[in-house]
Symmetry: C2
Subunit: 198 residues, 2 copies
Amino acid sequence: MNQAIEGTASTEVDFEELVARTKRLTNFMPEHEAVLLKVGDAIKPHLGAVTDAFYTVLQTIPKAEPFLEGRIDMLRQTHQQWLESLFSGPFDVDYARKMYHVGMVHVKVKLPVEFMQGAASLIMSELIKLVTRMCREDAAKLGLILTAINGVIGYSISVMQESYQASSLAEELEKFLAITGMSRALFNNLALAYNADE
Amino acid sequence: MNQAIEGTASTEVDFEELVARTKRLTNFMPEHEAVLLKVGDAIKPHLGAVTDAFYTVLQTIPKAEPFLEGRIDMLRQTHQQWLESLFSGPFDVDYARKMYHVGMVHVKVKLPVEFMQGAASLIMSELIKLVTRMCREDAAKLGLILTAINGVIGYSISVMQESYQASSLAEELEKFLAITGMSRALFNNLALAYNADE
């Protein structure tokens, strides 16, 4: 129980394990990484348009408004850079650390959880459209590229969601302590006693 | 703050709003629903194989073991039925209620959060493979079907994750109360006073 209640600081995360497990869980294999690097040059010039399409949809969703207001240009730029990195690699421990950090930041700015899956779906949808245009004569190639893109998006979002979950549980403990005026030391002692009793 | 700390019981959810917002957020449009129903007859006979491939990967992941042990046949059956429903519809409020319930159950059985995105990625990956085989001569049709599948998976998983998040925060409050021996009434009063102070 303690594990869940205390959340997981990123310093405690075994990133090697996280990377290996998440890549298997999202079917993001070395051959897919190779495909992404190979098609990168052809795809990158279109990622500005993919980013535009993404923010165009977000701007129609009232719940997204407070996160966009006054900083859409900055967000757009960061988003496009991230999209470009999906076709550059490497998708290693350093990359996973960055995605983990993004999940923590999303909790800090109180971004509702569904916007992460929403982003994954919208981006995939735009990239399906783009790659279908690029591979009009070659369905097999289209399937291969989309499998690779599905892998890298799933891998990135999964790491982000895992840290979002850990951070939001940790934040709940902070809120509870603030509301009750209880010290962390007292709470930890009570938790130890409670767990020993179970 | 209260909202987050108290979580959201499914009775308080405005499902009409949830459905409309999530469909827009995951680009799951009426024309995509129509595509899914149209290709359903061709795809459904292959969903047993997709389910098998999914559980084959899960079985290689140690963290998944406790959730599979002794009930893999039952899970496989439920999973295949759900996959079939993705090509049957309707994807209305009743469907969203079911997905919302699944998210709550996932918290109850302590399924780690990353398995939802993992499932989405693995299933999409298998369906890309399947539909690519089916549309070998028609990249445009392949792109259209995959856009629809991407939409319905994103919609389903997003609703599930939104309820998983609400349920896990609500569960944290239960844990705090159990550990500290504090009554819910006392906590609610403290929270009101704390919020009034802010």
